[in-house]
Symmetry: C2
C-alpha cells in the first residue's frame, strides 16, 4: 500500500527548507552573528556558527499548509512562501517563549538567550518575526495575486495577535489560583491551535478555494490542533514512558495545570488540597493520579480529545479534499492523533 504522506512530504519539506534558508541568508558562507543566531536556532549551525545538521522541528505546520493547498486543487509550489513564513513565525515564538519561560534548552541544545544573553535573543526573535513577514510577501514572486497576498498577511498578523494573547494568558495562569477549563481551552486555542488553523487556511486561500471551503480547512486545522494538545495533556499524565519518550507523569511532578488537572481541581476537593499542600514526591504522584481517575478527569479529557478529533475529520471531509494530497492529509491527521491515549 502506498503511503501518500511519505511520498509527498520529502519534496515539500525540502522546498520549505530551501525557501527558509534563502530568506535567512543561509547561503553556505559563514554568516555574521545577526543571521548566525537565527540559523543556529533553526538547527543549521552550531554555537560556533559552523554548519551542522541538528534535529529540527517536525515541520508539521508547513506540511499542513502545502498539503491543504494541493488537496484544495492548488499548486503547492505557489504556497511554499506561506509554509516557510508559518514555520518561521512558529520559530520566532519559540525564541521568545524560551526567554519568557527561562528554558535553558530546546531539542537538546542550548537556547539563544543561554548562549548570547536575553537582550540579543529578544532582538533575534524580533528579526525572525520581521523576516517571516518578508517570506510571506514573496508569494507575489510565485504569481499569487496581490489581493490574496494582502489577505494572507492580514490573517497572518491576526493569528500573531492570538498567539500573543494565548501566551499572555498562559503566563498569567501561573499567577492565578483558579483557572477554569474554559479559560484553559481558550488559552491553548491561542497558543497552539490557531497556528495550525492558519496553516490549513493559507494553503486553501492560495489554492483559491471558496470562502466556505477555506473555512472548513481552517476549522479542520483548529480542531486538529486542539485534539493534539489535549492528547499531549493526557499523555503527560498517563502516557507510557517507552512510547512518549518523556518520563511518566511529568506533568503531575511539575504540578502543571493541564486539562485533566484543571478538570480534577474543579471536581475534587481532595485533589485541590493535595495540590495546595503536598510536596511532589512519588506518593503525591500516585495519589494525584488516583484522584484524577476518581473524578472522571481522564475520561473527560479523552472525550474532549475524541470530540475535537471527530470535528477535525468532519471538517476535512466537508471540505471535499481531492487527490493524493487529501489522502496524505488524512494520514497526517492519523499520525498526529492516533496515539495511545
Amino acid at each position: 500500500m502506498t503511503n501518500e504522506l511519505e511520498t509527498l512530504a520529502p519534496d515539500m519539506i525540502a522546498a520549505v527548507e530551501a525557501e527558509m534558508r534563502q530568506v535567512l541568508h543561509a547561503n553556505g558562507r559563514q554568516p555574521d552573528l545577526f543571521y548566525g543566531m537565527m540559523q543556529y536556532h533553526m538547527g543549521w549551525l552550531d554555537a560556533q556558527l559552523q554548519p551542522v545538521n541538528e534535529k529540527s522541528g517536525k515541520r508539521i505546520r508547513p506540511l499542513l499548509c502545502l498539503l491543504t493547498c494541493a488537496a484544495a486543487g492548488g499548486n503547492w509550489q505557489q504556497a511554499v512562501p506561506a509554509a516557510a513564513a508559518i514555520e518561521m513565525l512558529h520559530n520566532f515564538s519559540l525564541i521568545h517563549d524560551d526567554i519568557e519561560d527561562a528554558s535553558p534548552t530546546r531539542r537538546g541544545r542550548a537556547t539563544l538567550w543561554q548562549l548570547w544573553g536575553i537582550p540579543q535573543a529578544i532582538n533575534a526573535g524580533d528579526a525572525m518575526f520581521a523576516i517571516a513577514h518578508l517570506a510571506l510577501n514573496r508569494l507575489t514572486e510565485r504569481g499569487v495575486a496581490a489581493e490574496i497576498v494582502v489577505q494572507a498577511l492580514r490573517r497572518f498578523d491576526e493569528t500573531c495577535v492570538q498567539l500573543t494573547q494565548g501566551q499572555h494568558a498562559d503566563m498569567a495562569f501561573e499567577q492565578r489560583s483558579q483557572v477554569s477549563v474554559e479559560d484553559y481551552l481558550q488559552m491553548i486555542t491561542g497558543k497552539t491551535a490557531v497556528l495550525l488553523a492558519l496553516s490549513a487556511e493559507l494553503g486553501a486561500r492560495i489554492a483559491q478555494a471558496s470562502e466556505a471551503t477555506i473555512n472548513h480547512y481552517a476549522q479542520y486545522g483548529l480542531h486538529l490542533g486542539l485534539a493534539f494538545q489535549v492528547i499531549d495533556d493526557i499523555l503527560g499524565i498517563w502516557g507510557d514512558e517507552a512510547r512518549t519518550g518523556k518520563s511518566a507523569a511529568t506533568d503531575i511532578i511539575t504540578k502543571k495545570k493541564t486539562l485533566p488537572v484543571l478538570h480534577g481541581l474543579a471536581h475534587s476537593a481532595p485533589l485541590q488540597q493535595l495540590y495546595a499542600t503536598a510536596k511532589p514526591d512519588d506518593a503525591f504522584v500516585a495519589q494525584a493520579i488516583a484522584l484524577l481517575d476518581q473524578s472522571g478527569s481522564h475520561a473527560f479529557a479523552r472525550t474532549k480529545a475524541d470530540t475535537y478529533s471527530i470535528s477535525a475529520s468532519h471538517h476535512l471531509e466537508t471540505a471535499v479534499a481531492t487527490g493524493p494530497a487529501a489522502l496524505a492529509l488524512q494520514q497526517l491527521t492519523q499520525m498526529l492523533l492516533n496515539r495511545d491515549y
Copy 2:
C-alpha cells in the same frame, strides 16, 4: 506669517491617534491587561489601567509620513494607516529596547517590564509589532490598491530587519573595544534613520509618486534622521543644559560612544588612555572635552551634521514637493535640525 506646520499638524496627529486607538482597542472601556499594557505604553492609561493623558512621543514619524503624502500630491487621509503603523512600530521597538537596555523609566514613567515583568513585556512588544502590521494592512480600507499595500508591507518589514540589525550592532558595540566611525554611522542608520526614511517613502508611495520621486523622499528622510542623530550626539557633549533639558556632558559622564567620542578615540591617544583608565568625575569631563576639541572631533561632527542636513534639503528640493505641506516639511526639517550645535 502663517506657519503651515502649525496649521496642518494638529489634524494629522489627531487622525493618527484615532487610528492607533482603534487598532489597539482603546474604545473608552477599561481593557484587559493584554491591551492595557500596550495602552499604558502609549500614554493613554496609568499603571492601574485608568485613563490619563500622559506626555506621548512627538509623533515626528507619522507627521513626516502624512506631510510627505500631501506634498507629493496625495490625499494624506489615505496614508493615515501607514502613519499609525510606523508610530506603533517605533513604540514596539521602544518596549523591547527598554528591556534590552534595562531602562527603568521612559518619558518619566515606569517601563512595561518594570511594572509587569520581562516575560509579559516581551510578549506585549510582540503583540504591538503584530498590530502595527494590521494597522498598515488597513490601507486597503482607504482605497489604496493591493499592489501598493503589498509593497508598503514589504518595505515596512525590510525596515524592521534593518532596525533589528542596528539594535544588534548597538548592543554588540558595548562589548567591543574598537568601534570605527563607519561602523557607528551604519549602526545609527539602522537604529534611527531608516524609520524616518520609511515614513517619507510610504507617504510618497501612497501618493503614487514616481519611483524616482519616492527615492528622493526616502533619501530626504534618511539624511534628516542621520543629521538629527549626529546633532543629538553633539548636544550630548557640548549642549546647553537650559536648552536641551538634559544635564551638560551627559554622554561624557556615561562614557557613551557617540560620533564625536569615536572620532576622538581614533585620533587622540591621550583620549584613548583617559577613557580606558579614568573615573568619570568632573576632572575627567573637563579633560575629555578639551581633548575632543583638540582632536577636531567637535568640528568633525558638526561638518557631518551639516553635510547630512544639506543632503536632506537637497533631496526634498529635488522631489519637487508642492503646496502648504511642502512648506510644512521644510519647517519640520528646520525644527529638527536648527538646534544650536
